[in-house]
């Protein structure tokens, strides 16, 4: 059940990614409409984060290509913003909240030009949107998990992009932080931004998103949530097919081994 859209914000074609000859993503092909909150759902190890990373060019795919706003990513980097997993950085780093949010301006200001007053204002406004403006001078190690996540989102907002790719923004944050992040994403959607979110919780997914991508190494479904959330497709994502794919990758590995040896 893969619904392709006209004038997509993001299209991924025949994307295949593997780590050390173990395929992680198989032949992924989908497109995303504008102004939607999109959830990427699937079990652990389904390749959800890997897919975001390959869209951002952080991982070299085996095959396939990605188009953003009908262009190559390098031509439209300003319009795409990536929010890595919170745990991917060292929060003991000697930096303040504002230092981190200002990084969102590096893309537009360049590495060598001075930051202007306007950059600072945009950074502060982004912090205000996530209700963190009074923490701007705090050292980032002193923040709670939910606050760190909101700083990451503020940095992304400071980039003033049109497409946002967020890796697990709801992971390890408490209930109140989760609901405030969600309402922020809904506000962004109201401004015609497109937000793609890796999400691990099947329970809340139906409530949060408009468009859902079911992923388990291969693409199970991509479409409006009403059509995608069927027992059969969810079963296919979380159950049954998993063992088949496992044996398939084992088979390929076995075939490769004699050549390697």
């Amino acid at each position: 059940m893969i619904i392709q859209v006209d004038n997509p914000v993001l299209e991924v074609h025949d994307l295949t990614v593997s780590y050390d000859k173990n395929p992680v993503l198989w032949n992924i092909d989908f497109s995303i409409p504008k102004g939607k909150l999109v959830g990427i759902i699937g079990p652990n190890g389904a390749g959800k984060s890997t897919m975001l990373k390959s869209v951002m060019g952080l991982i070299e795919p085996q095959s396939g290509f990605v188009k953003v706003f009908d262009k190559d990513l390098d031509d439209v980097r300003q319009r795409v913003s990536y929010v890595p997993q919170r745990e991917s950085v060292d929060w003991d780093f000697p930096a303040s909240v504002l230092d981190v949010v200002l990084m969102g301006r590096y893309g537009r200001r360049g590495l060598f030009k001075r930051m202007t007053k306007q950059d600072k204002e945009i950074a502060m406004a982004s912090l205000a949107k996530v209700n963190m403006e009074k923490y701007y001078n705090r050292q980032i190690a002193q923040l709670s998990g939910g606050q760190q996540q909101r700083v990451f989102i503020a940095r992304s907002l400071a980039q003033q992009a049109d497409l946002y790719l967020m890796d697990e923004p709801f992971a390890g944050v408490d209930a109140s932080a989760e609901s405030s992040i969600l309402s922020l994403l809904q506000e962004m959607r109201a401004e015609e931004k497109t937000i793609m979110v890796v999400h691990h919780d099947l329970q809340s997914a139906y409530e949060y998103f408009d468009w859902v991508i079911l992923l388990n190494m291969r693409l199970v479904a991509s479409g409006p949530k009403e059509e995608v959330f069927t027992p059969k497709l969810l079963q296919e994502t979380y159950g049954g097919k998993l063992t088949l794919l496992d044996s398939l990758s084992n088979f390929i590995r076995r075939k490769e081994l004699p050549i390697k040896g």
Partner: protein
């Protein structure tokens, strides 16, 4: 300038360059790369000696610097392709290259005016013997001029690339996502470390270079939450250690690099105990305060 201060100045210049780069190395969790480079440049130096037949600085620098960059390439390559942890790759590469260097030293011992002892420990006390003399006027030790030039070069690259080094150190994935090449800046940093190590080790020895790369930065890390301040504190600690170490060595009539390393260790200990936020006492007080507030 007396010989005393010429030696201190030389030590301070090494300390300042190393301390700046050390801050980035520590935050990138690759402090031991300095150790690797400072040892692995040995074959490069021997080859440069054999080809140029002199102790002239330029060929030696080129030989050593190319091996410094080669070291970082090999480490990177092994940890990506050979299923090796980064620290294991560092251990493998630098011991191998250093061993090759030692073998070459012993093989060509009759042609070389260099010994392994000097490489490891340096001879900072001899720095004033090689003066820069123009028209019969002495302008101070030649080594200090060279180190001064390297220091200015390091400072200007770090100022120009500060934002890039900052973002690629803190969050590589995000940096790449906005189009900043993490690879390029990684090698810029590695090239600077190679350069500083190579110019410094003849004066102060490989061991003190490693100490200057790691300890001032580690000391400063305990004292501040701001990268710029961390760099300034690290430089200050490095320079103070050069002073304190020199006079300590004179007092006990012992090895100067050894005394400078000891001084570094002493400053680290001070900040480890007394740092208001992350020191032993500061942490204990904070805990007490918490308990007090909760009761």
């Amino acid at each position: 300038m007396s010989f005393d201060y010429q030696i201190i100045l030389t030590g301070a210049l090494v300390a300042a360059s190393c301390a700046i780069l050390g801050c980035f190395l520590i935050l990138r969790k690759m402090a031991m790369i300095g150790d690797a480079i400072s040892h692995a440049v040995l074959p490069g130096i021997v080859i440069a000696f054999l080809i140029s037949g002199s102790r002239a600085s330029v060929p030696m620098l080129l030989g050593a610097a190319s091996f410094g960059v080669l070291t970082t390439f090999m480490i990177e390559w092994l940890s990506k392709k050979a299923r090796m942890q980064n620290d294991a790759a560092i251990g493998l590469v630098f011991t191998f290259l250093f061993a090759v260097g030692i073998i070459m030293l012993t093989l060509f011992a009759d042609k070389l005016d260099l010994d392994a002892h000097c490489v490891l420990h340096g001879e900072i006390a001899f720095v004033p013997l090689d003066q820069l003399i123009i028209n019969g006027i002495s302008f101070g030790p030649r080594k200090a001029w060279l180190l001064g030039g390297v220091f200015l070069f390091v400072v200007s690259i770090v100022i120009i690339g500060y934002r890039a080094l900052f973002i690629t150190t803190f969050d590589t994935a995000y940096a790449v996502s906005i189009g900043i090449s993490a690879v390029v800046w990684h090698y810029v940093l590695m090239a600077l470390v190679s350069l500083v190590t190579v110019v410094s080790f003849e004066a102060v020895g490989a061991v003190l270079v490693v100490a200057f790369l790691v300890v001032p930065a580690a000391t400063a890390y305990l004292l501040t939450d701001n990268l710029l301040k961390m760099i300034f504190i690290a430089v200050t600690v490095g320079i103070l250690s050069s002073f304190a170490g020199y006079f300590f060595a004179k007092f006990i009539d012992g090895s100067i690099p050894g005394a400078m390393s000891t001084a570094l260790g002493f400053f680290f200990l001070l900040s480890f105990i007394f740092s208001p936020k992350y020191g032993l006492i500061g942490k204990r007080l904070a805990k007490k305060r918490e308990v007090f507030q909760n009761t």
